[in-house]
Assembly symmetry: C2
């Protein structure tokens, strides 16, 4: 998918919502545990109930790997389901991978070729030759960690490297990498005031923004500082939507929560 | 496995060799491609031929994920085979994971509980709360990326953060994390002269050292600067051993290459 197609979908749905499919068997409705593949059944129900309100789904691979081969099968079925039934959706493998060159190519193959995701999140610590193998895939997107939403972001990311914070150094340096047009960035909503500075470095890049809702970030604040001409934001919500209820009404409740965010987004876009 | 048990194995085998199982279907002997699970058959043969010469095996997860569910099955069979047949071996999942707290716990479960690896490699970019969930597992080890062996290491890792290079900041900061006794570090052999400085910060921590052989690092140089009282080194070789031949003699040739490194190590240890 191209970023232009993503932008068109945003305009059509009046939404830049991404729903995180971080599925924990301990948190999903009990009645699903009797099915053959509870994780996939849960995802399928959530997707069917929310696909018109969001533009993206983001399974976090950790939640699938924790269940071994069975989990990997659930992930495969989930991405296949989205790609077949809702091909307009922008899919993100939240995998936070990254390794030396030839190994990164194998990860890129895993997520872009084998699983057919549109994008994958990647960690920047190993530098240029660990990220460029992902960037080589046409119409696929590499979402680089810049400033994350957790407390540990202050351990290294906000420390000064030469004359600026590490996360700014990451943003700036990555722009010089080959096929950098395929880059997007993770920037946590819990640090909304940082968006002004970030937009000076990457004015129109798409930013994947976790941390709205459960982690305390504000949608309005993020948009105030982070919205670009092409919108340029994908706001992620996981737990706030998918675990809105753990009863038999989980689908309806998830839709209510997704609709709240979409309405807020629609209002912001209309201004 | 405890580090004491790892040390005892090193003394017994006169080896601190780790063999990287980075298995690419395009590089293994053609006759194996006719078997049901070529990756596992290849690993099994390599392991049977080298287990007495090394103390550790390190599958890189990228090479398994690239083949989807089938690849994940090969990984599972490989780790099960090692754990059952050679339980003295220290196993490393070279996965370079790391995410926010609850998600890192899921990765830790995937590698420590489900797959039963002794250790996993983790990226430091997201800081303390992304690493501590791994450290919480008893007698399991978290191998934090410090200074990697690739060119991109110079993009951020060697840049000055406040008064010292980022990788030194990572080493120093990580020592304050809860259960930091369970930490080991990745330090590339291509930068042997850095080991002196690194040993000032982590005098006895085990260092996993990629980059000997194919990537140009020297075993003698690394040992000169990096050897600790408890040895404290795991020297990894992947391609140099496992792809020593792609004919029917691949097992014998792999053993010859592993033996060369083990003999060199034995000589170093005897001094």
């Amino acid at each position: 998918m191209t970023t232009q197609q993503l932008f068109e979908q945003i305009q059509k749905k009046n939404s830049f919502l991404c729903i995180g499919l971080d599925v924990d068997l301990n948190k999903i409705p009990k009645h699903l545990l009797e099915t053959e593949d509870p994780i996939f059944e849960f995802n399928k129900a959530i997707i069917d109930a929310t696909h018109d309100l969001c533009v993206s789904y983001k399974p976090n691979t950790a939640f699938y790997e924790a269940y071994g081969i069975k989990g990997w099968q659930s992930l495969q079925k989930t991405i296949n389901y989205i790609n077949e039934k809702y091909p307009e959706i922008f899919t993100i493998a939240d995998a936070k991978r990254g390794d030396i060159g030839n190994t990164s190519t194998m990860y890129a193959k895993a997520f872009f070729d084998d699983l057919q995701f549109d994008s994958v999140t990647v960690a920047p610590y190993m530098g240029k030759d660990s990220v460029e193998p992902f960037l080589a895939f046409e119409n696929k997107h590499t979402i680089l960690l810049a400033l994350t939403s957790n407390e540990g972001a202050f351990d290294f990311q906000t420390k000064n490297v030469d004359d600026r914070e590490l996360y700014k150094q990451v943003l700036e340096t990555s722009k010089s990498w080959k096929n950098s047009d395929n880059l997007m960035y993770v920037v946590g909503a819990t640090k909304a005031e940082y968006f002004t500075e970030i937009r000076k470095i990457v004015p129109t890049s798409f930013l994947l923004v976790p941390g709205v809702g459960a982690q305390g970030g504000s949608l309005a604040e993020v948009c105030k500082y982070g919205l670009a001409e092409n919108v340029g934001l994908l706001i992620n919500s996981s737990r706030g939507i998918i675990y809105a209820s753990n009863g038999t009404d989980f689908v309806e409740k998830a839709r209510v929560e997704a609709k709240k965010l979409q309405s807020e987004m629609s209002e912001i876009l209309s201004k």
